[in-house]
């Protein structure tokens, strides 16, 4: 009798551990699926960047530094393969584009260009969608991270190599840029 109870308890514990493991797997998959939504927007941004660079070149050819920065950030972002690499590279691209936008404030001719305005409109549209997709992705990431770090699923997580994953937030670069006071030059 005692033996049977022992077996039943063991089976229940094993089933429980299996369900914890499956939950972790499905949360990790959900996070990866959420990143697919982000990827769609990122790819559209990659397509848009060369057009913007071309348009800007015609008006502000001596801003070569910013333009190369954007182009390089784009190639790096396109070369990234894993989610973590992509997040870092895309953060670079985002801050490079923000730098470009600040520089372009000094060119009234460019800002009056219909083509440029339209491209900028498209870019801000993509950025908005990116922000929405990021919210969904970060929600999925938080849920996964909570499962990895809280008891009892953390016991399973540490044994089967489930690690805490990073969020897709604004890059440290652009965050410091936003937080530092605007430079005033005379």
């Amino acid at each position: 009798m005692g033996f049977i109870i022992f077996i039943v308890v063991i089976v229940i514990i094993v089933l429980w551990m299996v369900s914890l493991y499956n939950r972790l797997v499905s949360l990790r998959n959900r996070r990866q699926n959420a990143f697919a939504d982000i990827d769609v927007q990122l790819r559209q941004r990659h397509d848009l960047v060369p057009q913007i660079v071309e348009t800007v070149k015609g008006y502000a050819s001596h801003e070569r530094g910013v333009l190369t920065q954007v182009t390089e950030a784009r190639s790096a972002a396109m070369a990234a393969r894993t989610i973590d690499d992509k997040i870092v590279a895309e953060q670079q691209l985002t801050s490079a584009l923000q730098g470009l936008r600040v520089q372009m404030e000094a060119y009234p001719d460019l800002k009056a260009n219909q083509n440029f305005l339209q491209l900028q409109q498209e870019l801000s549209d993509i950025e908005n969608k990116l922000a929405a997709a990021r919210r969904f992705f970060n929600g999925a990431t938080t849920e996964y991270n909570n499962a990895v770090e809280t008891f009892p699923s953390n016991l399973i997580a540490s044994n089967f190599n489930f690690k805490r994953e990073i969020m897709f937030d604004l890059g440290t670069d652009s965050r410091t840029r936003m937080e530092e006071p605007p430079a005033i030059k005379f």
Partner: protein, 320 residues
Amino acid sequence: MKYIGLHQQIRRNNTNSFLLLVSFPALLLGMFYVIIYFIAKDNAAEYPGDNYPMSIDHNAMFLAAVPFILVSVAVWFLIAWAGHATLIRLATGAKSLERKENTRVYNLVENLCISKGMKMPKINVIDDDSLNAFASGIDENSYSVTLSKGIINKLNDDELEGVIAHELSHIRNRDVRVLIISIIFVGIFAFIAEVAFRSLRFAGRGKKDNKGGGAIILIAIVLTAIAYLISMLLRFGISRKREYLADAGAADMTKKPYALARALKKISTDPYIEAVENRDVAQLFIDNPRVSNRKSASWDNLFATHPPIEKRIELLDQFV
């Protein structure tokens, strides 16, 4: 834990959909059983003695009729399932909206959908100056959000976002599916009631000696009316609580409950879409006030598909 609450709501709505699918045909069969019972009794009066033809045994008659009833309900339901989107569009005169026609509205819907990882529904527009909106559909391919021209033009971005989020919450909560299924079944009862009513008028004009037939039709009408009333009350019961839930879902989606509260205030000034008189469609709207001169508010409350807008605004203000 609002998140769990939402999932519970979805599960409950799925159960409700299933119960509706089962209970409406059961209600219908019960109704037919009673009707057939009276028909058989009426026939029995004409056949005294033991040589009963089959038409007197109400159980046998009922069993013979069951397949026909079930098949007609199934056929009706399939047609409604496949065609409800078109029917609603025709009833409201709504046109579908493409991205290039109005990027503002399209983007609001698309961004909200992306932020919740849901598939984007279709967007329809009703050419009407009053302010209203509704969601409809049964599955991912038929879900749609319909907005009036007035609501698009008179609300600012934040307010319109709140309204759209409210409609998307209805879709996420599976409210629309329960509602559409119940509308389809109530439509069947309405159809039977109509048929019974017309045949009564027809019988009244016909031969006078057919008194029994008239009585049967009268019974049929009473039964249909009862079934119709039950299904109406059932439908209202399921639709009111979810307005609060959809408001809460919208507040959660946009993080701007005050914008939705402002939008509701604006909507309450002119929610009547003159083009849409069909009450079955009107209960889908974001606000469905009843045009009423009656003094008794409780009677109105019993049949209202939506809670009073002041109460909804009051609740939204608590989110801030």
